[in-house]
Symmetry: C2
Subunit: 703 residues, 2 copies
C-alpha cells in the first residue's frame, strides 16, 4: 500500500531540515540550500558534514545519526556513490522525507538504475518518502524551506499565494518559477521531481489537491505513468475544485522522438494523454504564458459553469477583437436585454448598447455612467464573466483611481462574476486594480481566453462523478489467446453484448444455399482460411447474393479464386451472413496504450477515418452517455443524424455497442492488443458488427 499524500508533509512543510553534504561555500550545491534556508526558513537547520564543526555559522554534525532530533526531512547533496549510506543514516535517525539532489542514477544507465532502486527501497522500507534523485528540490513559500540549489531563488523570493508548481524537469521548473515571480503570481509551493524514484508528479498533484494553501496546480510533465494513481490525483483535485494547468511535452512525433532520446520512460500516445487530461478538466497549456494566464485567473477561485461573456469597451475595434476571441474560445456573446439597451441609448446616444457594450473614448469624463453601465451588464445582462477594455485610462494619474472606484462600485455587488480588464498601467495602479478583485491583462485575447478557461474549469467541477461503467456481461467469453478469425471475434463480441451479424459456416455449395435459405436473402459470402488475413484483397467476398443460384455460383467462384490466387492456403469453407443494407458504416476499435491501457476509437468507415482523420478516442471503460458524447463529437456526425434528407441512424444502439466494447476491453486489459470492428453498420434501428478481428497481447510484451 502506497503511503498517502500526507506523507509528503515532512518534505514540503518541515519544521526541521538536515542538509547531508552541507558546504560552507554558499555557492556550492551543498551550500546553497543552507544559505537559502538560513535566510528564509523558520525551523531548525542541521548541516551534516563529517569534516567540519561549523557550516555557514551553524553547528555541523558528522552524520545524520548524530542529529539532536529526528529532523522532518533531509537534503542529500552527496555524490551518488555514498548516497545509499546517507539514506540509511537518515532513515536510522527517523527522518521521513529525503530530497536527493545527487545525479548519477537512472539517467546514467543500468548501473545507476540499480543504485537508484536501492536508495528508494531503503527509504520506503524505513518509512520515508524520497524526492529525486537528480532533482532540483522544492520549497514551500510559507515555511520558507528553500531546499534547492537553483540559483533562481537568489534574484528574489516568490510572492506567497495559492498556486503550486510541480515540474518533472528541474531546469524548466526553475524557468517557470522565475516567470511566475516576474509576473507576480503568488506561489504556495514549488517542487521538481527529477528521476522520480519514489515521489512523482501524481504524488505532488495528490498532495496539492489536499493542501489548504494551494488552490491552483501548475504542472509540467514530460512523461506520465501509472494511470490509476495519476487519475486518482487528477480526480482528487477536480473534486476539491482546484484547477490543474499542465504543460505536457511530446505532443508531436518529433517531440516524442526527442523525449525518447531524453528519458527512457515508456511514453503513452499523446492523443490518449490529451483525452485523459480532458476527462478530468485539466487545462493543457502550450506556453508558459498560457499556463500563467490561466493560473492567475484561476487564483481568484471563480468558476462559472456557463459561458456567456459580456464585453465592455472604449474602442469599437477592441470590442470586435474580443468578440472574435470569445467565439474562438467557445464563449457565447448574448446581446443585452432590449430594455437595457434602450436605457443605455437613452443615457448615452452614441454608445453601442448591444454586446460588446461600446462606451467609446468619449465617456472618459462620464465615469458615473460607466459604473452604471457595468452594473447593468452584471445585473441585467446575465453574463457569467465580463471582459472590459480600458487600455491606458488607468495609467493617467487623474483617471486611475476614479475609474477603479467607478468599476468597483458595480463589481462589489457581484463578487461571483469574474471580471477581466484589459489595461495598461504602471505597477502601482495595476496592483490596485488587482487588489480590487479585477483580473488584469494587457492583451484582449488573453483576457478572454482566461475567462474561457475558468468556464471550462467550472464545467469540469460541476460534472458529477462519472457513473461507473456498466458491468461486463455475465457470460462474456474470455479474450482469445491467438488472433481470431471473423467468426470467433464476432462470437466473443456477441458474448459481451455487442450485436454482430449471424454467420453460418458452409463447407459445400449446398450447405451455403441451406444457410442462405435460413438467414433470408440477400446474403454475403466470405472465404474462411487461417492463411488469408485480408480476404477482400484476393476477391474473397461476394455481396448481395439474392437467390439460390447466386449463392451456389458465388461458392464456386470464391473457391476458384482461392485455388488460383492462394493455391497453398487452407480453405475451411465459406461464411454465409445476412447482407446488412441501408445503414452507415462505422469503425469501432480498441488499442492498448502502454501507459493508459485500452483506448476505444470511433469513427465513420473508410475514408473518414483513413483520409479525413475524423475519429475520436476515449479511455476504456465508459458508459452509454459518454459513448454518445464521443459519437456526437466527430465532424461526420451529421451523416448519422439524418443530414440532408438521410435517415437518422440508431445512435443509442451504436453508443451501447461502444460502451460494451470499452467494458470488455477494460475487463481484458492485460490480454488484448487490439480489437477492430470494421465495419460496424448502424441502422435506423439497431446495428451490427459485420466484420471483426481481435488480436491478443503478445506474450512477450514488456508492460
Amino acid at each position: 500500500m502506497r503511503p498517502g499524500a500526507q506523507s509528503l508533509l515532512p518534505l514540503l512543510k518541515p519544521r526541521s531540515i538536515a542538509v547531508i553534504g552541507a558546504s560552507d561555500d554558499p555557492t556550492r550545491i551543498g551550500g546553497r540550500p543552507v544559505r537559502y534556508c538560513k535566510e528564509h526558513f523558520d525551523g531548525a537547520l542541521y548541516p551534516v558534514n563529517p569534516n567540519r564543526k561549523e557550516i555557514q555559522g551553524l553547528k555541523a554534525y558528522a552524520s545524520a545519526r548524530d542529529l539532536p532530533e529526528a529532523a522532518d526531512c533531509a537534503i542529500l547533496a552527496v555524490p551518488a556513490a555514498i548516497t545509499f549510506e546517507a539514506v540509511q543514516d537518515c532513515v536510522a535517525r527517523g527522518i521521513k522525507g529525503l530530497c536527493v539532489f545527487s545525479s548519477g542514477f537512472a539517467e546514467m544507465g543500468a548501473e545507476g538504475t540499480a543504485l537508484q532502486d536501492k536508495i528508494r527501497d531503503a527509504a520506503l522500507n524505513g518509512g520515508a518518502r524520497l524526492l529525486g534523485p537528480n532533482c532540483l528540490g522544492l520549497f514551500n513559500a510559507t515555511r520558507g524551506n528553500f531546499m534547492t540549489f537553483s540559483a533562481s531563488i537568489e534574484h528574489g523570493r516568490p510572492k506567497t499565494g495559492n498556486v503550486a508548481i510541480a515540474s518533472q524537469s528541474g531546469a524548466y521548473g526553475s524557468h517557470l518559477f522565475v516567470l511566475a515571480r516576474q509576473r507576480g503570481i503568488g506561489l504556495s509551493s514549488w517542487i521538481t521531481t527529477g528521476n522520480e524514484a519514489d515521489v512523482d508528479l501524481a504524488d505532488a498533484i495528490a498532495f496539492f489537491a489536499e493542501d489548504p494553501e494551494t488552490q491552483v496546480i501548475a504542472a509540467y510533465a514530460e512523461g506520465l505513468r501509472e494511470r490509476d494513481r495519476l487519475f486518482a490525483a487528477l480526480e482528487a483535485a477536480r473534486r476539491a475544485r482546484k484547477p490543474i494547468v499542465m504543460i505536457k511535452v511530446g505532443r508531436s512525433e518529433a517531440g516524442a522522438d526527442a523525449a525518447r532520446a531524453h528519458t527512457a520512460a515508456l511514453a503513452g500516445s499523446d492523443a490518449v494523454i490529451d483525452a485523459a487530461l480532458k476527462e478530468f478538466g485539466v487545462h493543457r497549456a502550450l506556453t508558459a504564458d498560457e499556463m500563467f494566464d490561466v493560473a492567475y485567473a484561476a487564483s481568484r477561485r471563480l468558476y462559472p459553469v456557463k459561458g456567456r461573456l459580456g464585453i465592455m469597451t472604449i474602442s469599437g475595434g477592441a470590442g470586435v477583437l474580443m468578440a472574435d476571441a470569445a467565439v474562438e474560445y467557445g464563449l457565447e456573446l448574448p446581446a443585452m436585454p432590449e430594455a437595457t439597451q434602450a436605457k443605455i441609448k437613452a443615457l448615452v446616444p452614441f454608445a453601442g448598447p448591444r454586446n460588446p457594450v461600446d462606451i467609446t473614448g468619449q465617456m472618459f469624463n462620464m465615469l458615473d455612467t460607466v459604473s452604471e453601465f457595468m452594473d447593468m451588464m452584471l445585473t441585467e445582462g446575465g453574463y457569467d464573466g465580463i471582459a472590459g477594455f480600458f487600455t491606458s485610462w488607468p495609467s493617467a494619474p487623474s483617471m486611475s483611481d476614479k475609474l477603479l472606484a467607478a468599476l468597483k462600485r458595480a463589481s462589489d455587488k457581484h463578487p461571483e462574476t469574474p471580471i477581466a480588464l484589459v489595461i495598461l498601467a504602471p505597477p502601482g495602479p495595476w496592483q490596485k486594480y488587482e487588489a480590487a478583485g479585477f483580473l488584469c491583462f494587457e492583451d484582449p485575447t488573453r483576457a478572454v481566453a482566461a475567462i474561457a478557461a475558468l468556464v471550462k474549469f467550472g464545467r469540469a467541477f460541476a460534472r458529477p462523478r462519472r457513473a461507473p461503467a456498466p458491468a461486463l456481461a455475465k457470460n462474456a467469453l474470455p479474450a482469445p489467446t491467438a488472433a481470431t478469425d471473423e467468426r470467433e471475434a464476432k462470437r466473443i463480441l456477441k458474448s459481451a453484448g455487442i450485436p454482430a451479424t449471424e454467420d453460418i459456416l458452409a463447407k459445400t455449395a449446398a450447405q451455403a444455399v441451406e444457410a442462405a435459405e435460413r438467414l433470408g436473402y440477400p446474403v454475403v459470402m466470405k472465404i474462411v482460411s487461417p492463411d488469408i488475413a485480408h480476404k477482400s484483397e484476393i476477391g474473397g467476398v461476394a455481396l448481395d447474393l439474392r437467390d439460390q443460384q447466386a449463392v451456389a455460383a458465388a461458392f464456386a467462384e470464391l473457391r476458384g479464386r482461392v485455388l488460383s490466387k492462394a493455391p497453398k492456403a487452407r480453405l475451411d469453407g465459406m461464411i454465409v451472413s445476412p447482407m446488412v443494407r441501408g445503414g452507415v458504416e462505422t469503425i469501432l476499435g480498441v488499442n492498448r496504450d502502454p501507459v493508459f491501457g485500452p483506448v476505444v476509437v470511433f469513427g465513420l468507415g473508410g475514408i473518414f477515418v483513413e483520409i479525413m482523420k475524423d475519429s475520436v478516442l476515449k479511455l476504456a471503460p465508459f458508459g452509454r452517455e459518454e459513448a454518445l458524447e464521443m459519437i456526437r463529437s466527430i465532424k461526420g456526425f451529421p451523416l448519422l443524424d439524418g443530414a440532408r434528407g438521410r435517415l437518422k441512424m440508431d445512435i443509442g444502439a451504436l453508443a451501447d455497442a461502444l460502451s460494451k466494447l470499452s467494458v470488455y476491453a477494460a475487463a481484458n486489459a492485460g490480454k488484448i492488443e487490439s480489437i477492430d470492428i470494421n465495419p460496424f453498420i448502424v441502422l435506423p434501428k439497431g446495428g451490427f458488427a459485420v466484420d471483426a478481428l481481435i488480436v491478443p497481447r503478445k506474450a512477450d510484451s514488456s508492460s
Copy 2:
C-alpha cells in the same frame, strides 16, 4: 489618378507643422500636440488660434492663411462645424498634409458623412492629403513630430527603430504603441487612420513599403477596402522584402456583427481576406504578443527560405517542448550529420547529439565546448535557424558575459542564420545579448514560432511575381443576364474552355433514343423545366441508361413524375448526356465578395464540402500552378491522388478547369453573382462539368 505614396511625406516627415485650434492648456486636444512637438520636434511649429497672441510660449497666428510659410502639414483640432473652413484656409496657404483630430463626421451618420466628403474634396482639390477625421494622429520617431493627442506619449517616447505601426483604430493603435514601447520594439513611425476619408491603411502600407526608415510593418485593421490599391501596397511591401504583420479583427461571425455595429463599412468575408493576406505573405497575428514577437524577430531582416530548425538546449524537457513547437509551426528538425554526432559524443559523452542537441545543465562549466557545438550546428548542421534554451544562465553575473562570448564566437561566423535564445535575464544582460544579434525570448514556443514566421516571410519574398493568369478564351460567351439552365451554363463554361458533358435536348422519347445512340451508352436523362430548379428533388434524373428500351422507358417515367409532382411546371423536354463513370466528384464554384470580387471555391463533392467543410478558396483570377496548389491543399486530396489502391485522377485537367473558371469569373466580375459546377467529375484522363448553374449579379446590388 490617386497621388503616390510620397504624397504622405508632408504628414509623416514634415519640416514645419501648423496646429489649427492650438490650445495654451497642454492637457487639451489642441494643446497636447503643441506640447509634444515643442519637446520632440526639430522643425518649425506654428500654433493657430485667433484668440491668442501666444500659445505655450510660441507665437500664435490668427489663421493658417497668416502663416509665415506654407507649413508642410497642419493638425486640425477644431470642432467639426468649422473644420471645412480650416481646411480651406490650410489649402489656400499651400499646406499639403492635413491631420484632422476632430470627430463628428461619418461616425455620426449621413450629415456627418456629407461634411466629411466636403473636407476631403477640399483637401484633395487643393493638392493636400487628409488623415482622419476622427483619428488620433501620427508620429515619426526620427523627426519627433508627435502629432497626436494620445496621452500614451507622456509616459515615454518609443525607441527609434525600423518597425512602423499603422492602425485603423486610434484606441487600439495607442494600445499597440504602449505595448511596443514596454517591450523595447524600435519604431520608425506610427499612424492611425480614423475615418479614412482620404488616407487609409493601404496608403500607409504603400508609404512604409517605400520608406527607407521602415523595414517591418505592423498593421491593425478593422475593415479592408479597395482591393486593387490594397493588393498593390501589399505587393510593394513584399517586393521590398518588408514583412507585414497584421491583426485583422472580425474573424468570427460574432466579431463581424460587432464590426458592423461599430463601422458601417461593407465587410468582405473573413475567409477571403485570410486567403488574400496569405497570397502576399502577410503574417496574420491573433494577439499583440504575436504581432510584436514576429515584428521583433523580423526587425533583424534575416529571412531564410528553408525551414530546418536546429535546437540547442540545456534541458531535455525544453528541447522536447521546442521540437513540439517546431512541428506545430511547420519547421523541420533534421538530425545533425552522423559524423558530427560522433564528434559531439566523443567530446561530451553525456550530451544528446542529434537534434535537439542536449548539452545538459552539466556543461555550465564547459563554455568553450558550448561554443564549439553551436559552431558545429551552424556549419555542419545545415540549419536555417537555431533556437537555444539557456534559461537563467545569463542572469548569473559570473556566467552572463562568458556564455554570450561563447555563443557569439560561433554566431559571428554565420551572420545569415537567425538565432533565437530562450533566456531569463535582467534588462542589462538581456540587451547585451540582443546587441550581439541574438533574438531573445522568455518562452521557448514563442521563440520557435518567431523563427517559423521568418521562414514564411523568406518564402513569400523569394516567390517570383505570379505569372499573369491566362487570358480569357477568345470566344468566351458573355455572362448571362438571367439565371441559366444547365445547358446554357455548360455552353458558357465550354466557351471559356471548361470541358462539360455534351447535352442533347429531346422533346420526345424517339428523339431521346436518337440522342443516346449518337452519344453512346450509357447515358443519363434529366428533365428541363424553367419552373423546376432542383430536378433531383422530384426524381427528375435517370442514371445509367444502357439501351434504347431503358432510354424510352426513362423518358416516359420522368415525364410522368413531372405531371404528378409538379403538374403546373412547363416541361421543355429532357436532356440526354453521356454518363460519366469512374471518376471523382468535385465542386467548383465562384462567389462574389463585396470587397474582393470573385472568389473561386474548390472541394470534393457531396459531404466533403457540406459536412466535412473540406474546401479551399482563392481570389480570381489565377493560373494553373496556383490551381494545383489549391487542389493539393484539401484534406481529401489523396482521394484524387490514388490513395489506397484508387486510380489517380487527372489533376492537371482539374487545375485547368479551375484556372479557366477563375479567369472567366474575373473577366465578368461585375456581372456574376455565383457559378456552381456541381459536380465536376475528374477522370483518370480529363474531366467534365456534369451539372452547372450561373447566377448573374442582381441589377440592384449596391457594390
